[in-house]
């Protein structure tokens, strides 16, 4: 937990420094019409940098305090089982469109994690995207990314 806390604070410190550098590039002084573009980002970066340093200091000062692990042993696996297929869905969306990719993603997850029966999976993975398609494209006229299958169906 402490290690994760320090690593996260150091990442924020880096972000703060990056913003400070950008602020300095844009100019932090007084322009012809008020403060220049970099004025606020500069101080935001300074503020973030300072607060992350305080976090690091607080963590290191609390030496010996009881800590729990950031992620319990083996607990990261279920998280990755959601995250990695989700990334896969987004990649597939660029090729197949959101409806087909979403259906495949849901089906894969239900089979792999839930071990549900095939008829149920087929029903849900076809039914849910079709219903969402009708709600968004037909009813609310909000367009989603579409791929070859929708094109073949004439949309």
């Amino acid at each position: 937990m402490r290690k994760a806390d320090v690593v996260c604070a150091l990442c924020l410190l880096a972000l703060g420094l990056l913003v400070v550098a950008e602020g300095l590039r844009l100019g932090i002084g007084w322009g012809t019409d008020g403060p220049r573009s970099g004025f606020l980002p500069f101080w935001l970066g300074v503020g973030l940098g300072l607060s992350s340093l305080i976090v690091v200091w607080q963590v290191l000062a609390a030496r010996g305090a009881a800590t729990r692990r950031f992620v319990g042993p083996g607990k990261l696996v279920p998280v990755m089982k959601v995250l990695i297929p989700a990334v896969g869905m987004v990649v597939l969306t660029q090729v197949l469109g959101l409806y087909v990719a979403g259906g495949l993603y849901m089906g894969a997850y239900m089979r792999w994690i839930g071990r549900h029966s095939w008829p149920l999976i087929v029903l849900l993975t076809v039914g849910i995207p079709v219903v969402t398609f009708l709600i968004f494209e037909k009813w609310f006229l909000v367009s989603m990314p579409k791929g070859p299958i929708e094109a073949w169906l004439g949309y």
């Binding site: 996260c8 913003v19 573009s37 606020l40 607080q58 987004v90 979403g102 239900m110 990314p145």
Partner: protein, 503 residues
């Protein structure tokens, strides 16, 4: 008296069949959203926001506020039957609500919770109807220094009252403002923090951030904890409702006290959670049987639910009158105002009275519809949580992706959503609060403009925030709240009082 006529006008708009239908749909969707893990008020409203783009603004805001009421009601169902607080302010409801359900008094606990929510909301809505007009009138006199001072107060309140680590709260606020600064600077026309990338020119949409941080982040947390839904089955019978109502009549004082605490805490940012705990604490202290608290005392359900719902309503007051949201959900709604072509702030009362008063009137109708629906359909809503987790999880991720894409039809936003999801998961685990980050992202441009205009007015002298009595008062209050985490231990030491127990 002009406000009363306006409220009547509002009712004429809110009671049209179309708007009542919208309210009905909103409540049902909202309750489902409140019951589902990983979907709460803020990201539920965010996902549905694109759906409202083609609606008239008044109907759109009625839909979104009703989703919000529904989510508040839905939170009580999971707290009582499943011992899972859907939102931080329903934590206190689990203390006595779940024991009641386990003793077979689930119907009684749910009736008490819904009725209390309704009473708290109704009390706060009456106050909102009275105060909204005068407050907007006052706010019309505000200039940039006053608006910046109020924004300062908003963020200081998170630092001073939010609980958790003050330094991490400050860091979250800065991150939000930095994300808001990405893109085109509309004052000077320069590109900021884009590092030469075309994609970053658009900046970050707070709706995508909300869906990622609250939606996906929450899903990651719940799969990690291996959420097991072992709930208590219950039905609410009509006779039980009547008996509970008769019993509730004996707790008038608890109702009134909790509603006041809720309203008072609620219109300050981050107020709903402390309000629910405070109200629970007060109810226990003033109760005739404080020893029964925690084992299934009905007062322990009444107090936090009344306060949380009153606070939830009160959080909309600064959003309507000042254009400054007090909670992430209000922030998402405020983002909707801009998309529907409305300029948030006190001028709305002058320019679009039918919108403002239609919204206020719909708070009455929405909560009446809400309490009736949840009382009638509790088993149906509770059944949602019995859907296997392996079906719900990918479904929620899919819905989140749709919501993120629909904001501005950008594929990149789905990627941002995934990244925000991971960030939300890490921040939640490390106790960085997410609400101030989202609020800073929404208010970033407004706050920066107010700051710049103030500094231009004063030729760069930061003392301008102390020049007018209103902004001086607000700025002093903001500084006090900001430094409260440092002051409080000092005060306690000088008085020699013991450390309070953290809740």
């Amino acid at each position: 008296m002009g406000d009363f006529a306006n409220l009547l006008l509002g009712f004429q708009i809110a009671i049209t069949p179309y708007n009542l239908g919208i309210a009905f749909i909103g409540i049902i969707l909202g309750t489902i959203i409140g019951v589902l893990p990983g979907l709460g008020g803020a990201n539920g409203v965010a996902i549905l926001l694109p759906v409202t783009f083609t609606m008239p603004p008044t109907s759109a805001i009625i839909l979104l506020t009703c989703v919000y009421w529904g989510a508040l009601f839905g939170g009580a169902i999971t707290s009582i039957l499943f011992n899972i607080p859907g939102e931080p302010w329903s934590v206190a409801t689990t203390f006595d609500g779940h024991p009641m359900a386990k003793q077979g008094r689930g119907g009684q606990a749910l009736t008490a919770a819904f009725t209390s929510s309704f009473v708290g909301a109704f009390f706060a809505i009456v106050l909102v109807s009275f105060f909204a007009g005068p407050l907007a009138e006052l706010a019309l006199k505000f200039g940039p220094p006053e608006f910046f001072a109020i924004q300062l107060l908003t963020f200081s309140a998170f630092v001073g009252l939010g609980g958790g680590s003050p330094v991490k709260t400050v860091a979250s606020i800065f991150i939000g403002f930095i994300l808001a600064a990405v893109g085109l600077d509309i004052v000077t026309g320069q590109l900021r923090l884009t590092f030469g990338s075309v994609e970053l020119m658009r900046g970050f949409s707070f709706i995508v951030a909300v869906i990622g941080l609250f939606g996906l982040g929450e899903i990651f947390l719940s799969v990690e904890e291996g959420l097991e839904l072992r709930g208590v089955t219950t039905r609410v019978r009509f006779r039980e409702i009547l008996a509970t109502w008769r019993e509730l009549l004996g707790y008038k004082r608890t109702f009134l006290r909790s509603a006041f605490i809720g309203f008072w805490m609620g219109f300050k940012p981050g107020g709903a959670t402390p309000a629910s705990f405070m109200s629970y604490g007060f109810a226990k202290r003033f109760s005739k049987h404080p020893e029964k608290f925690g084992t299934g005392a009905i007062e322990g359900v009444i107090a936090p639910e009344t306060a949380a719902h009153a606070a939830g309503v009160a959080a909309l007051l600064p959003m309507i009158t000042l254009g400054i949201p007090g909670s992430p959900t209000a922030a998402v709604m405020l983002g909707g105002f801009l998309i529907w072509g409305l300029q948030p702030g006190p001028m709305l009362f002058k320019e679009r009275p039918e919108f403002v008063w239609g919204l206020i009137a719909s708070m009455y109708t929405g909560n009446v519809i809400g309490v009736l629906i949840v009382l009638l359909f509790v088993p149906a809503f509770a059944a949602i949580l019995r859907i296997p987790f392996a079906i719900l999880t990918p479904l929620i991720v899919f819905v989140c992706a749709i919501g993120a894409y629909a904001v501005s039809n950008a594929m990149l936003d789905i990627w941002y959503m995934l990244i925000f999801g991971v960030v939300g998961y890490v921040f939640k685990k490390l106790d960085y609060p997410l609400a101030p980050l989202v609020l800073a992202l929404v208010l970033g441009d407004l706050a920066e403009n107010a700051l710049r205009q103030s500094l231009i007015m004063s030729q760069g002298n930061p003392g301008i925030f102390f020049w007018s009595p209103i902004s001086a008062g607000i700025t002093v209050a903001a500084l006090f709240l900001f430094f409260w985490p440092l002051l409080a231990p000092l005060l306690r030491r000088t008085r020699g009082a013991p450390e309070p127990v953290a809740h």
